[in-house]
Amino acid sequence: MSSSAPTAVHHVHRDDYGSRMGMWLFLFTELVLFGGLFIVYSVYRFTHQQEFHIAAQELNTTIGLINTIILLTSSMTAAMSITAMQKGNVRFAKGLVWVTIMFAFAFMVNKYFEWSAKIHHGIYPGSKELLNKPEGEILYFGLYYVMTGLHALHVIVGVVFFLFILRHIGQGKVHQTQYVRLENAALYWHLVDLIWIFLFPLFYLIH
C-alpha cells in the first residue's frame, strides 16, 4: 500500500521516567510469574509437611549460603556501577558491570556442581531412585529443579542484558547523562537477587 516515495520518520522521544516505569511493570509480571510457583510450593508444603522436611535435608546449606552472598554482593556492584556512571567514571562503571557478570558466572558454577551432585545421587525427574521415594519428596525435588532452574534462566538473561549494556556503553549510547538502560539492567538484576532471597530459605533453610 505504500506506493508513494517513503520518507523515514523518526520519533525523537526520550522519557527516562517512562522507561523505568515500563521496567517496573515488567518486574511485577516476573514477581507474579514466580508467585504462581510459590503458591504451588506452599500448597504442597502444606499437604506433605513431613516429606518436604526430610527431602530438604538433602540440600547443602553451605553452597546455598555462598550463592546467596555472591548474589547479594553482585547486586551491590550493579548498583555501584550506576553511581560510577552518574559521576562520569565510565571505565569504573564498565569494570563494575564486568564484576557483576563474574559473580553471576560464579553463581552458575556453584549451581552446576549442586545439580550434578543431585543427579549423580540419582535424584532427577523420572529417575528410578526418585520415583521410589514418597510422593512429597518427588514433588519437592520437582519444584526444586523447576524453581531453581527458572531462576538460573533469569540469571543468564540478566547476564545477556548486562552484555548488551556493555556494548551500548562502548557505542556511546549509555553515558553520564543517559544511563537509564544501565539502571533498568540493574533493576532486573535486583529482581533476580530478590527471588533468590526467597528461594534460599524455602528450599535450604526451612526444615
Binding site: 523515514a8 522521544h13 507474579v32 504442597y44 512429597g136
Partner: protein
C-alpha cells in the same frame, strides 16, 4: 472537545502511504513501528484466525444437527471444539480490541504521536504471529491437534498423545505478547497524554484499556507459569500436577482460572469502552455518569480478579470457599450494571441516529444483559450444581464473549472504519448485515440455554432425541449468522477498496481522533493538541435541542 490549537486542514500523505522506515510494500508494514500499521497488522491476522475458528464452529454445529454421527467422528469433533476455543480465545477475542483498536486509537485519543515503546509494540505483534503459527503447526503435524479443550486440564493434557505441546507453547507466547501490550499501554497512558488531557478528560475507551492493561500485566504471568509447568511435566516427567506423582489436578484448575477468569474481563472491558464511546456520539448527548463508568472499569478489574473458583464449584472445595467466591461473583455484577444503566440513561432523550455502529451497540447491551444475568444464575451455588457442564454454560459465555465482546468488535469496526481507511462502507448493506447477524446469533445460542437447563451436557458428541429440536434450531441459526458475517465483511472490504471518501468527522464525534486528518498522518497530529474540556461535550446540541432549534 474544544481545542486551543485547531489542526490545520492541510492534506499530507497518510500512514497508509508513508511508513516509519525506508522499506516499501510488505516490509514497510511488517517492520514499521507506527502504532497504526501495527494495529492493522493485528487486525488482518486476527480476522484470518477468526474466519478459521468460525469454520470450526460451523462444523461443530453441523455435526450436532442430528443425534449420532453426522459427518465427523468423535475424536475429530473433540479436536474441532478445542481448536475453536483456542483460536477464538487466544487469537481473536483477547487481542481483538486492545491490540487492534487500542493500538490504533489509544495514542491518537490521548493526543500522542505513538505508544511509548514502539519497538516493543512491534515485538509483541511478532510474538503474536509466532504463537499463531506454532498453534497452526500443532494442527498440521502428525499426531493430530490437541483434544483437551482450551483449558488443558491435567492429567488428561499430560497423558493424551495428541499435539498438546505446540498448543501450550502457542498460548504461552500469546500471553507474553499480551503482557508487553499491557505494559506499553499503562506506561503510555501515564506518560504520553497531551497537554490538558487530565485523567478525567480521558475518553472512556482509554479508561477501559487502562483497567484491561493492568489485568493483562498482573494476571497473564500466572497462566504463563502454569502452562510452562504442564510443558515441563509433559516433556521432562517432573511431578507437579499429575496425581500419580503426588500432584493435585485441582491446584492446576485454580492456577488456570486465576488467569482465565480475569481474562474474561480482558475481553469484555475494552468492548464496554467502545460502547461508552459510541453511545454519546450517536445520541448527541454528553455521557451520563462519566466517573461512574470510569471507576466501574477499575472495580470490575479488581473484583473480577477474585472470583476464579466459581468455575470449579463441582471440582472439590471447602463450603466456606464456595460461599466467598459465589458472593464476590455477585459483587462483580454491580459495576457491570452501573455501566448498563449509564448507557441507557445517556440514550434517554438523546437525538438518536441509528447508524450501524449504534445498532451493534444496542445488540451488545441486549445480549450482554442476558449473558450477565445468566452469569448470576451460574454464580449461585445451588443452581450451579444443576447447570455445571451443560450447554447452559456454553450459551452464557457465548452471550458475553460473542454477543458482548464480538459485537463490540463489530461496532468498533463500523465506527472507526472511516477514520482508519478514509472511506465509507455501504450503510444500507451494513444495516441489513447487522439485522441478519443479530437474528442468526440469537437463534444459534438461545436454544442452548433451554436444552442446557433440561440437561444437555456440553462438549458431548451425541445426545438424546428429545434435544433434537433445539440442536436443529441452533444449527440453522449458525447458518444465518455466517451468512450475515459474510455480508458484513464483504461490505467492509468493498468499502475499504471502493467506498466514497469521507470527511474528517463523519459521525460528529468529539474525541481527539476526529480532529485529525483522515486517514491520520504518521505522527497523528500536525501540532500537539491542547485539551481544554472533557470528552463527549455535546452541550451545544443539548442546548439547541431544548430551545427547539
Amino acid at each position: 472537545m474544544a481545542h486551543v490549537a485547531m489542526p490545520v486542514d492541510k492534506i499530507e500523505p497518510s500512514y497508509l502511504e508513508v511508513t516509519t522506515n525506508t522499506h516499501k510494500g510488505l516490509l514497510g508494514w511488517i517492520l514499521s513501528v507506527d502504532h497504526k500499521r501495527i494495529g492493522l497488522l493485528y487486525l488482518y491476522t486476527m480476522l484470518a484466525f477468526f474466519f478459521v475458528a468460525v469454520g470450526f464452529g460451523f462444523m461443530i454445529r453441523l455435526e450436532l444437527i442430528s443425534p449420532g454421527k453426522t459427518f465427523i467422528d468423535a475424536q475429530t469433533y473433540n479436536q474441532f471444539f478445542t481448536l475453536h476455543g483456542i483460536i477464538m480465545i487466544f487469537l481473536f477475542i483477547i487481542p481483538g480490541l486492545p491490540a487492534v483498536f487500542g493500538n490504533f486509537f489509544l495514542p491518537i485519543m490521548i493526543g500522542a504521536k505513538d505508544v511509548i515503546f514502539p519497538r516493543v509494540n512491534l515485538l509483541s505483534w511478532y510474538l503474536f504471529i509466532t504463537g499463531g503459527l506454532v498453534a497452526v503447526a500443532g494442527w498440521l503435524l502428525p499426531g493430530g491437534s490437541a483434544d483437551t479443550g482450551w483449558m488443558f486440564y491435567v492429567p488428561y493434557s499430560v497423558r493424551t498423545t495428541t499435539n498438546v505441546l505446540p498448543a501450550l507453547t502457542a498460548a504461552f507466547l500469546l500471553g507474553f505478547s499480551s503482557i508487553l501490550t499491557g505494559i506499553n499501554f499503562i506506561t503510555t497512558i501515564h506518560r504520553m497524554r497531551a497537554p490538558g488531557m487530565s485523567w478525567f478528560r480521558l475518553p472512556l475507551f482509554i479508561w477501559s484499556l487502562y483497567a484491561t492493561a493492568w489485568v493483562q500485566v498482573l494476571a497473564t504471568p500466572i497462566i504463563g507459569i502454569t502452562l510452562a509447568l504442564v510443558i515441563i511435566e509433559r516433556t521432562l516427567g517432573v511431578g507437579i500436577f499429575d496425581p500419580v506423582l503426588g500432584g493435585d489436578p485441582v491446584l492446576y484448575q485454580h492456577l488456570f482460572w486465576i488467569y482465565s477468569h480475569p481474562a474474561v474481563y480482558i475481553m469484555i472491558l475494552p468492548a464496554m469502552g467502545i460502547v461508552s464511546e459510541i453511545i454519546p456520539v450517536f445520541a448527541r448527548r454528553t455521557i451520563f455518569g462519566y466517573k461512574f463508568i470510569a471507576f466501574s472499569s477499575i472495580a470490575i478489574a479488581f473484583f473480577g480478579s477474585l472470583v476464579w473458583a466459581h468455575h470449579m464449584f463441582t471440582a472439590g472445595m471447602s463450603d466456606t470457599a464456595m460461599f466467598v467466591f459465589s458472593f464476590i461473583t455477585f459483587i462483580v455484577s454491580i459495576p457491570s450494571a452501573i455501566k448498563v444503566f449509564n448507557w441507557v440513561s445517556t440514550l434517554y432523550k438523546g437525538s438518536i441516529q441509528a447508524d450501524p455502529p449504534l445498532l451493534y451497540v444496542l445488540s451488545f447491551i441486549f445480549q450482554f444483559s442476558i449473558g450477565g444475568f445468566t452469569g448470576l444464575m451460574l454464580g449461585a451455588l445451588s443452581v450451579n450444581i444443576h447447570l455445571q457442564d451443560t450447554s447452559f454454560v456454553v450459551a452464557h459465555f457465548h452471550y458475553v464473549m460473542f454477543g458482548g465482546t464480538g459485537f463490540g468488535i463489530f461496532a468498533a469496526m463500523h465506527y472507526w472504519f472511516p477514520k482508519m481507511f478514509g472511506r465509507m462502507y455501504n450503510m444500507k448493506v451494513a444495516t441489513w448485515a447487522w439485522a441478519i447477524v443479530t437474528f442468526g446469533y440469537n437463534l444459534l445460542y438461545f436454544p442452548m440455554f433451554i436444552m442446557g437447563y433440561l440437561g444437555m451436557p456440553r462438549r458431548y458428541y451425541d445426545y438424546l432425541p428429545e434435544f433434537q429440536p433445539y440442536h436443529f434450531a441452533s444449527t440453522i441459526g449458525s447458518w444465518i449468522l455466517i451468512l450475515g458475517l459474510i455480508i458484513m465483511f464483504t461490505n467492509l472490504f468493498v468499502g475499504m477498496r471502493r467506498g466514497a471518501k469521507t470527511p474528517k468527522n463523519p459521525w460528529g464525534g468529539e474525541t481527539l481522533e476526529w480532529t485529525t486528518q483522515t486517514p491520520p498522518i504518521v505522527e497523528n497530529f500536525h501540532e500537539v493538541p491542547t485539551v481544554t474540556t472533557g470528552p463527549y461535550d455535546y452541550s451545544e446540541y443539548e442546548v439547541a435541542k431544548k430551545e427547539g432549534t
